[in-house]
Symmetry: C2
Subunit: 421 residues, 2 copies
């Protein structure tokens, strides 16, 4: 059973990715500024229009939904079978790369085009989606596309969300021709599966020399602000044993975080931002604030880790006479991918002779919004040096083609073959 | 031998201090903004004029030198004896307190007035100085007053030094009527002694419940910028063992600094400023820069400590794969006070029934510029909660009067009594 698709049109794939990257806000940084394509901006509109044309050229029926998600459809012969969906997001961070999001759309179109040209009409309808937004780069909200499609966000909720220039999401959406009551509803009926192809954005596949990453779960995240308050004092006239030094306390916190994180397998913990006050060389800092970003694939481990860490933090703060305030500001639960799909992907990698590794996604993705609704899977390809959200983002044409081979082979099994279940 | 002077005009002293504090730039912060009296500004000129009048009322002969140091003189009967000098600086930091600097001037005037009224003409000439500048708050230079008086700074060197509004020190000096070739030279002939009365600016006297601090040495200082460079990476997709996290490295550095400093008696070490990049919650910091401020009364200990610390820093950086750059930007050597004078002060405290403690000055003072030229001493009074450079700066009227009692008693011994040596 099964049809092994070795996608060999790497140059065509890269040409489309390069064309798409041209739709970017002209940045002040010059040539190496990367791609800036924020939701509902002019480059975003041009990129969606270009993708609509590309989908149409591939023989797909094209439509936009009410928030501007773009969908290309290859109608199946069984009108009652649930749709098999693939795709990713068209928006980028500021000064981002060519591949984050774009690869999953272009790869999806290439896969559907190849399947249609080679095998004709599928049994089950195949669709590829270009989600309007995922990064949260323009408005203080993320997953605007997949959130509306899965019913977890409401397309009418954009009035209070504003970009840095004060434009509301609602106004921006209307200005680009979306958000109209007569446009097709975002929320979908039953889906047979959602499969997202994406770059890894990490160093694991490259360091382990694997061609394909098979995502077992998207990690849960906890983010906190930690505030330590001691006493600002003269750096020269205050003996070491008479200080309540917020900086020394924060340093002990950060060292302890790293030590504990190293003990909890596959957990990651990061202090990305720090701010001391008064932040003057000859004054002992009276306050230090820093952020915690903690991620793991098990909700139980996340809870246990944070509870244990914060108990230690309390102890350290008490010993040092520092006032401690820990404020949570983001919490997402881990999202497991569908076991049957990950098993299928693993088998396909074996048949395609592609080295592979089961792994977690440490970053959030549109796929996590679908996992409760339908069988969901993610396929990763290696990122050079693990870099993403940067003009340096890179995967080789061969690596990109390998990902499409796996995606197309999986979509063939899901849409063309008789389902045993 | 000796005359014990118990200075009891605390209310007059405080009235003068309060009057002087009125000469301050009107700050935007409102009532609790403290004193802002920067070199050669209008409030500075008014304060010096007020002090000149106060000196004159005290029966002293008044003059300004070329950079605007104000001197009040009580002529002695022996024209060949070197002058005995006391005083401190009239300028303040921005939003500073009433006492830092001002106390030593007003206390000096009160002491000389009392001595003249009680004992008449001294054998040796007594002078009190209001140094024009010590804090380095307006121009990027400190000790402008005492530096010119001791010949360590040149009054013609202010052309390149500019305040935040672009005015040069030279221009500002000329605009306030100083810097003229025909004005009296700053550099003094031989001095018999310099004694500075100052608030402690630390918590030691208060915590130890001592009334007088006798400075044995002004500490040496070393300041450095420490830069750590690793790799900025995604906080979610980079496993703990694949990171070169500049923040984790900096935290280990700061913890180690505190541990080592606690072992070296009376050494103080501070990380006052820190800056991470890109300083975003979900990105592992690629670089962290922080400042080191290290002080001790022994040059050998300072050198040893910094050498040892930086060897450890190299080891930590190597283990973590971080690039380390340590840049020195300030180094002053410790300045011992005159042993004979500190002994005299200690004896006087005993006779005056004032509890006292020998200690180091962790802050720099005008006195350190005189120590190579003549016998030099400093007398400290307690600072409430160790606070200085703040509107909260406070010492009680009794504490302030105690300091003047010690100063006046010492000046009596130095200027009125027959010198055994």
């Amino acid at each position: 059973m099964g049809e092994l698709i070795q996608f060999d049109k790497a140059s065509e794939l890269c040409r489309l990715i390069d064309r798409l990257a041209e739709f970017s806000d002209i940045a002040e940084d010059g040539d190496n500024a990367g791609v800036t394509r924020l939701l509902y901006t002019q480059p975003w509109m041009e990129a969606q229009a270009f993708l609509a044309g590309t989908m149409s050229d591939a023989g797909l029926a094209v439509r936009f939904d009410r928030v501007g998600n773009l969908i290309g459809r290859l109608e199946g012969s069984d009108p009652d079978a649930p749709v098999i969906l693939t795709g990713s997001h068209v928006d980028t961070v500021r000064n981002g790369g060519k591949l984050d999001g774009a690869y999953g759309i272009v790869g999806g179109i290439a896969a559907l085009k190849h399947l249609k040209e080679t095998y004709g009409v599928p049994a089950r309808t195949l669709e590829v989606v270009s989600f309007c937004e995922e990064e949260g780069s323009r408005f203080p909200i993320a997953y605007w596309g997949s959130g509306n499609m899965t019913g977890q966000l409401d397309w009418r909720s954009g009035n209070e969300l504003r970009d840095t220039e004060g434009t509301s999401l609602q106004k921006a959406m209307e200005a680009s021709g979306f958000g109209l009551i007569e446009q097709p509803d975002c929320v979908r009926g039953e889906l047979g599966a959602f499969v997202e192809l994406h770059i890894e954005q990490g160093v694991i596949l490259e360091r382990m020399a694997k061609q394909i990453g098979i995502v077992e779960a998207i990690v849960g995240q906890r983010r906190y602000s930690v505030s330590l308050r001691g006493e600002a004092n003269h750096a020269g006239t205050t003996p070491m044993n008479m200080r309540t030094d917020a900086m020394a306390g924060a340093a002990e916190f950060i060292v302890r975080l790293e030590q504990l994180a190293a003990r909890a397998a596959s957990l990651v913990a990061t202090v990305g931002r720090i701010q001391a006050a008064p932040n003057i060389p000859n004054v002992i800092p009276g306050t230090v604030e820093f952020t915690l970003d903690i991620r793991h694939d098990s909700e139980r481990t996340l809870s246990w880790f944070c509870d244990y860490l914060f108990q230690e933090y309390e102890d350290i703060a008490n010993r040092r006479g520092l006032a401690l305030v820990i404020t949570p500001w983001l919490a997402t639960t881990p999202v497991p991918m569908n076991r049957s799909l990950t098993g299928q992907i693993e088998q396909l990698c074996g048949k395609l002779n592609l080295t592979h590794r089961r792994m977690f996604s440490g970053a959030g993705h549109d796929a996590q919004l679908f996992a409760e609704l339908c069988p969901t899977a993610m396929i990763f390809v290696p990122s050079k040096a693990g870099i993403s959200h940067s003009p340096e983002e890179y995967s080789s044409p061969e690596q990109l083609a390998d990902g499409v081979s796996v995606l197309a082979s999986l979509l063939y099994e899901l849409a063309y073959e008789e389902q045993s279940k």
